[in-house]
Each structure stands twice: as C-alpha cells, then as structure tokens.
C-alpha cells in the first residue's frame, strides 16, 4: 500500500517530466503557459489518483550521483542501494525518502537532494534518480555542552572538536575533553565510519584516557587507558568491545584492607551487549509507556588468562501509568544486577573493585535508565559493604567524629533497586507553563556481596534485612541548562555505616 506521507522537504520530486505511458499520444496543441500549467496539474492529479488506487509499475534505470568532490561514490551508492531494486512508483517514493534521510544522517553534507527523472525514452517504465549532495564546506566543528553519557553516573561538561569526512568515507573524527560532576575527567579521540569494509552497520572506534577520583568514597583513584569498538548500534541493540588498561592507586595511603589488595594494574577486555526498548512518551517526565534495558557483559575475552574475568548482567524495567488528571502519573521501576568472576578458583576470587555495583547518589531514578544505581537519600556510594580505613591518630574519642566517614565503601555483587514515583502538575499556571512539577516517591535498594564465599552466609532473612528504604517528596525544575530536583527525603531504614541523611537534597542532571 502506498503510504501517503508528506515527503521530506529536501526531497524534490520532479514529476513534470515523468511520462509513464509510451503509447499515449501527445496531442498537445500549442497552448499558453497557463493552459500548460493546467495540463500539468491535471496530469499530476491523475497520477496521484492512479498511485492511490493501484500499483504503478516502475523500475530505476540509473542512479546518478552529483556534487561529491571528496566523498567516495561507493559510500553514497551504498546508502541509496535500495533505489535500484524498486518495482513501483510507490516504492520509489518511499525508497527515495529513506535514501535522503540516510545521507542526511551521515552528517557530512550540507544538503541532499534526490530528484526523480524520467528514464531513457527507449526504455519505458523506467526512471533515473539523481542524487545531488553539497559537501560541508566547514569540515571542522566545535562543540561544548553538558551531556549525559551512557556510562556516566551523572552529567558532564564536555567540549569536542569534530573533523568530518577527512578520508572521504564519511568518517567523522572527534577529540573531546570532558569533566564530570563526580570527579571524572576524560580525554578521548574517536572515529565513526558509516561503512567499514563490507560491514553494513556503522563502526565506531574510540581511544580514551579516563581518570576517576574515588578517594573520598573508596580511597582509590582509577585511571584507564582504553580502546572501544562499537560493533553494532541500532535503535534497540548495541554491541561494543572494550579493551582497557586500568590502574588503581591510593595516593592518600588510607585505604582499607580490601582496597589495598586491589591496587595495581589490570587488563579489562570485555564485550558488552545492550538491549533497550523505550516506549515511554518522555525520558524525563514519562506519563505513559514502558521501558526495558538489559545489559550483559562478558569480561576476559583475551588470549591472556591474566585479564579480568567476569560475567555481569543487569536489567532495568520501568512502567508509567497515567492517572488522567493534572498530567499526573505513577512511575514504577525495578532494576537489578549481578556480577561474578569466572575461571579457575572463581569461588574464592573477589570481583575487581571498579566493576562492582555501587548504589547511592541523588540522581533521579525516573530519568536514569540503565541498571541499579541510585537510591534517593543516600550519598554517592553510600551503602553496602564497607570496611574501616587505616587508623591515623586518636580520632575515635573526638566530638563530632563520624565513623562512617572513615570507611571505604566496596560495592557489591548483587544489587536490586525499586521505586515508585507519583508526579503531578502544580496548581499555579505559571509553574505548569514552565513544566515545573511536583513528585512524591518511595525507594528501596539492597547491595550485598556474594564472592569470596560470602554467598554461603546469605540467607533469605538476611537478604530481606539488607534492603534500605527511603521516601519523600519534592519539586522538579527543568531549565535549559539543568534539570534540577529539590527533594525532602526521609530515610525509613538504613544500616549502621550507611551514608544517608534525612533532609532537603538537591540534584542536578542533564536537561536531555
């Protein structure tokens, strides 16, 4: 069936020269321009009527590419390949629209025009397609902004420089520098290739140097020099390979025993597959729909048996239920994750510290889709297994001494979080117009250790007791620069050494 959809504005369809019926005698008497226009209009209307009622057979004789001085013709041909196999006018229109969109998506052209022209007169029922591109004059672009990266736990300030189409294969090179709110800094350079050799899917490669400072929470700093290869990236599926040389150090020399034993170098080689489906109507304030993300990682796929070996699985399920008044909706979410090592002696082997699950932080559970991470009311890395740090000086007797600040949080191997969030518009119109809304929430989460034979001590009762809970209400203020939440959070249940606090909290996230 023909889809009568509005063509993309850049598609210029020149129907005036199309002559389908060879037998039709042209018996146009000499006419004025007005009558010619009237005739053309009548012919067009006739064609559209015909297209809407029946299949108009047509095939493409030739695809002519113009305007590519630097871009390799093979790249453009690959993107418009579908045009050559059309068998009807309707298919041709659809394929032309898709081809135009694909070429636009390469982000290396200033404009793309797909023109449908009549084929050679001696070949009836054929059409020539002319693809005209205007390559970007300015191949270097710079960018600075606030982004949320999929791997990041919070937003980051990022500046990047892009170089487009340097080799003519639609390659986009970029160098970026970013600084995150959670003491993360990264410098990286990468390249994205829409077509690499015979692969249909685009391939990306990135080399990055990442530095994260966890001294305040876990008494270690992490530096990672990594190479990432994006092997498959579609709407729902993402497959990437990562090879990283990771170093953990403790310049403060205050780390607890478990962290001390993990300091040093390791090589991480893992495949990561992400399946994502998001049918919610908004990623920031969903009022209907559902979303599901599953991430699987297999570490240790490297010829050297001394690389870090683990299997990690996490999932995140969300559902938004509209209530039918004041744009109110209830969002439910449950997320979980487990990690364990593999290989000889895996029962007694601890999981590498940076790969474990950590819960805590003020990021909104509604907006952060991607596994168990946040639990409102608890500070970053503020719950779960912990150990006392190295003792220096006689501090225990001091007034105001906070024992939890002298502990390192080690993360866990099994993490589960759940939340329920009721969002609603506020009565004032000025607030509604600015999309400032209120919400009430309840969260629960658990983080336990399984490795090094800890699972033997874990009973169902103990696991149930390991769940922390919090509840509260707040105000959400989306602005152009930030998305801000002001929440009053009440801790319903916490463990002895958790870093949690009842009171007003602010959190900031990316506006997108």
């Amino acid at each position: 069936m023909v889809e009568k959809e509005d063509p993309i504005s850049e598609v210029a369809e020149d129907e005036e020269d199309y002559d389908e019926d060879e037998d039709e005698e042209e018996e146009e008497p000499p006419v004025t321009s007005q009558s010619r226009m009237r005739n053309d209009r009548e012919r067009m209307e006739g064609l559209l009527r015909r297209m809407s009622s029946e299949r108009v057979p047509l095939r493409v004789h030739d695809v002519i590419i113009k305007g590519n001085n630097k871009t390799k013709e093979s790249l453009i041909e690959a993107e418009v390949q579908a045009l050559k196999t059309v068998t009807s006018m309707q298919e041709l229109l659809q394929a032309a629209t898709i081809a135009n969109a694909r070429l636009q998506k390469l982000a290396i052209f200033d404009s793309v025009t797909v023109t449908l022209d009549s084929g050679p007169p001696d070949l009836p029922g054929t059409s020539n397609v002319i693809v005209e591109v205007v390559e970007s004059k300015n191949r270097v672009t710079g960018d600075i902004g606030i982004f949320t990266k999929p791997e990041a736990r919070s937003w980051s300030l990022e500046s990047s420089l892009k170089l487009k189409n340097m080799l003519g294969h639609g390659d986009i090179w970029d160098g970026s520098l970013s600084y995150g709110w959670d003491q993360t800094s990264e410098i990286s350079t990468g390249v994205a290739l829409p077509r690499f050799m015979k692969l249909v899917n685009p391939v990306t490669a990135r080399v990055s140097l990442l530095s994260q400072d966890w001294l305040k929470f876990s008494s270690y700093k992490e530096q990672a020099l990594g190479l990432s290869l994006g092997l498959l990236s579609t709407r729902n599926h993402d497959l990437a390979y990562n090879l990283s040389w990771r170093t953990l150090t403790d310049p403060s020399q205050m780390a607890c025993k478990s962290v001390r034993s993990q300091l040093g170098h390791n090589l991480l080689s893992h495949l990561k597959y992400t399946f994502k489906i998001d049918k919610r109507n908004s990623p920031l304030r969903p009022t209907r729909g559902f979303a599901f993300v599953s991430t699987s990682q297999l570490g240790g796929i490297f010829p050297d048996y001394r690389s870090v070996r683990f299997i990690r699985q996490e999932f995140d399920l969300r559902y938004a239920l509209p209530l039918g008044f004041a744009r109110a909706a209830i969002n439910f979410g449950v997320a979980g994750g487990v990690i364990f090592p593999w290989g000889g002696g895996f029962v007694n082997t601890p999981v590498s510290l940076p790969d474990r699950f950590f819960l805590g932080g003020n990021s909104s559970p509604v907006c952060s889709l991607g596994g168990p991470t946040s639990l409102l009311g608890f500070k970053t890395r503020g719950l779960g297994p912990s150990e006392p740090r190295r003792e220096v000086g006689e501090k225990a007797g001091d007034a105001g001494f906070d024992p939890s600040s002298e502990r390192d949080f080690l993360g866990g191997d099994l993490a589960v979080t759940a939340f329920a969030d009721l969002s609603f518009d506020l009565p004032l119109k000025v607030l509604r117009d600015s999309n400032i809304h209120g919400h009430a929430f309840a969260c629960a989460g658990s983080l336990v250790k399984l490795t090094e034979n800890s699972f033997r001590d874990l009973s169902f009762q103990k696991y149930r007791d390991s769940f922390r809970r919090s509840a509260g209400f707040g105000l959400i203020v989306p602005t152009k620069l930030f998305r801000m939440e002001v929440n009053y959070c009440y801790i319903l249940r916490q463990h002895e050494h958790d870093r949690a606090k009842t009171g007003v909290q602010f959190s900031f996230s990316s506006p997108l």
Binding site: I98, A101, R102, K105, V200, N201, P202, T234, R235, W245, P251, S252, Q253, M254, C256, K257, R260, S261, L263, G264, H265, N266, L267, D278, K279, R280, N281, S282, L284, R285, G289, F302, D304, R306, S307, P388, R389, R390, E391, V392, G393, E394, D398, A399, G400, V430, D433, S434, N435, I436, V477, P478, T479, K480, F482, M484, V486, F506, P511, L512
Partner: protein, 380 residues
C-alpha cells in the same frame, strides 16, 4: 597482660610482598629484607602477595634543582646520622610495597624511613636497639643501602637481559601491560642512575667497582662470625645477633646469588667472597627454608631480645604523616555548622536564580509522542 588477645593480634600481622620466585619467598630487593627481618625477630606473620602493582614506587625525577632540594629535605627525615644517602635509596623508600598491616594498621615502606623503621618506631619489633647509634653500624648500613642497592638495581634492569626482573615483577600481569611497564621502568632506572649513551660505560664501571669494594669490606667485617654486629647491650660478652643490617645484606646477597643469571657480573663478584656466600646459604637454610611463615615462638633458635617487645605487641595508632598534602585540620562543631549554613544559603540563592530564569525563559516541553513510529535506522 592479655596475652591471648596479643597473640591473636600477632597472628593477624600480615606482610604483603611481591611474589615468590627463584626459590626465595620473594625476589624483590625491597621486600626480601623485611621478610628476613621478621624471621630474625621470630614474629609470627601471615604472608600475602601483591602481584599487580610492580610500580608502586614513584621515582623522583631529578631534573630540576627543586627536586634536588626535595630530596635533601627527604634525606634529613631518615634516621641516618651524617650520611648523605644515595638517590636510589631515597627513591626506594617511595615504594609502597612491601608493607605490614593488620585490619586498620599499616606500615608502608614509603613512610617513616621504611617498614623496618616503622616497626621499630611503633614498638612492634626492634632488633637494632643496641647498635643503631654506632657510627660503624650506620655507615655499613648506608653502604649496603646505597652502593649495593645501586648495583642490584643496575643488574636487574640494565646489566642483564631483564628476564629476572620480568619474572619478579611482571609475570602475573597480562603481557601488554607487563611489557610496557617493564620498558618504562628500564627508562626510569637509567634516568635515576644517570645512565645515558655517553655515561653508560663509566657508570657501569663505577657501580661494579663500588660493589666490589663493599663486598670486600663486608667480608672483612664479617670474618667467620654468624652475623655482622655484636650486641653491645650485654657489655661483658659479645653476642652476635642479627640486626636489620643482616636483613638488608642477606636480602641483597640471596637475590644476587639466586635471582640473577649465572652470567651476571655482580653475581660473579659476590661469589669471590666465600665467607659471604657461606653466610648467605647458612642463614637461608636456617631462617627461610625451614618452617612456615608463622613459626612457633618457643622453637626459635634466636634468643628473644628485650628491645623487640614482640611479646607486648599491640597495634599502635600513630600519627604517621601522609606522603602528600597537609594534615587535615580538625574542624570544630561551630565551623561545621557555619559551613553547613553557608552551603544552604548559597544553594538557596542559586535555586532562586534558576527558578527566575526558568520562569523568564521558559523551558521546552520535552514530551515526545512515540506512537511506535519507526524512524530510519539500519535495520530497515
């Protein structure tokens, strides 16, 4: 005293060193002397290995005058009177590993002059009580920790093919990581020892000459005795008991004899001193090859010495200074309250500004209807 508790604490003392190889409990020149020292003192300890941090040291670059001044300041903090230490020893003190720890107590090698000095200062074990102020003992120690340390450093990283160093430090790291770290360390050692294309030959000759002189001096000093020092604590008779000097030299000798290849020049020079070789073999058999890492104190062949105080071992909580940064200033309750209030004030002001901007500028409604309308992707 609560000897049961103390005994339990003693058993929880853990020594973290680099891996065992070449028939030695560890072949790392920084780690083996500490191991031997604890064995001499008959202190029960558990052994743990760190296999992934070969470069836990931070070699100081001595390119600038400022760095040299830093080194001089560092050297004054070490308790060796009137001895200017060789740079290598100063830099080996920057190595975190080895370290001795319990749950919350740690004696790192790069604090307070080293693990052995920390153990002395924290009254855990002290074998040097009667000798550590004697000039001859001090200068012998300085000679071992400078000339012989330089020599073993040179031999491991520059003078040989590097196979020994690779086995000691990198055999448990993945190949690419180990290889790159090894190359980096070779470069660092050459820089530290002042070895370049122009000076390589001269420095090599100087290092070996000093090592030879040190061996000869030590051979003369040792004679036929069991250890290098006599215990002046008992003035009426001279009892030769091990001190940290023995620990440092024995560590050096064992690594030279067992870890270096047979073609090693340094090894050849040590083999020329028969009494030193006999001393090393004898002590290795007595202390390293016999028994576990936690021997029964009652069966020790080394008489217990008063100053070691290991029977009164208690995990100390000491004011050890952090190698970097200023000591944290204790905040009073008033200061904390003031800071909290100031923080709330600033945040409130910022919130007000943001709300004002938001109401003034408005924000885009980011709701997007997703009716299952498939966009263009590479699945199509």
């Amino acid at each position: 005293m609560d000897e049961a508790i103390q005994s339990e604490q003693q058993q929880h003392l853990t020594l973290v060193i680099r891996k065992a190889c070449f028939g030695l409990p560890t072949a790392c020149p920084s780690c083996l002397p500490v191991y031997i020292y604890l064995k001499f003192a008959n202190v029960p300890f558990d052994l743990s290995y760190n296999l992934t941090f070969p470069d836990s040291d931070h070699f100081l670059s001595i390119e600038s005058t400022k760095d040299k001044e830093k080194l001089l300041l560092l050297s004054t903090s070490v308790n060796f009177c009137d001895v200017s230490l060789d740079l290598q020893h100063l830099c080996s003190l920057a190595d975190q590993i080895p370290y001795v720890d319990t749950d919350t107590y740690v004696a790192y090698n790069n604090e307070k002059g080293g693990v052995i000095e920390s153990l002395k200062e924290d009254n855990i074990v002290n074998l040097d009580a009667g000798v550590q102020n004697l000039p001859e003992w001090v200068s012998t120690m300085a000679m071992i920790n400078s000339w012989l340390s330089d020599a073993i450093l040179y031999e491991l990283w520059v003078g040989s093919d590097g196979s020994s160093a690779h086995k000691i430090y990198y055999s448990d790291l993945p190949w690419p990581v180990g290889k790159l770290l090894y190359l980096k360390q070779v470069h660092n050692v050459k820089q530290l020892l002042g070895i370049s294309k122009e000076t390589a030959e001269r420095r090599e000759e100087e290092i070996y000459r000093r090592a030879t002189m040190a061996y000869q001096a030590l051979s003369t000093k040792l004679g036929e005795e069991s250890f290098f020092s006599d215990n002046r604590q008992v003035p009426t008779c001279y009892i030769f008991l091990p001190t940290s000097l023995d620990a440092f030299f024995l560590g050096h000798a064992l690594i030279t004899l067992y870890a270096l290849p047979e073609t090693s020049v340094l090894r050849g020079k040590l083999l020329e001193q028969a009494n030193l070789v006999k001393y090393a073999d004898k002590l290795k058999a007595e202390f390293l090859d016999a028994g576990s890492s936690s021997p029964d104190p009652s069966s020790s062949s080394v008489p217990r010495r008063g100053p070691s105080n290991w029977g009164k071992f208690r995990v100390p909580v000491t004011n050890c200074s952090k190698p970097k940064g200023q000591p944290k200033r204790e905040r009073t309750q008033e200061e904390k309250s003031f800071r909290r209030k100031a923080k709330y004030f600033l945040v409130t002001q910022m919130v007000a500004v943001l709300v004002f901007l938001s109401l003034l500028g408005g924000s885009d409604d980011t709701e997007v209807d997703a009716d299952g309308d498939d966009g263009f992707d590479y699945d199509g």
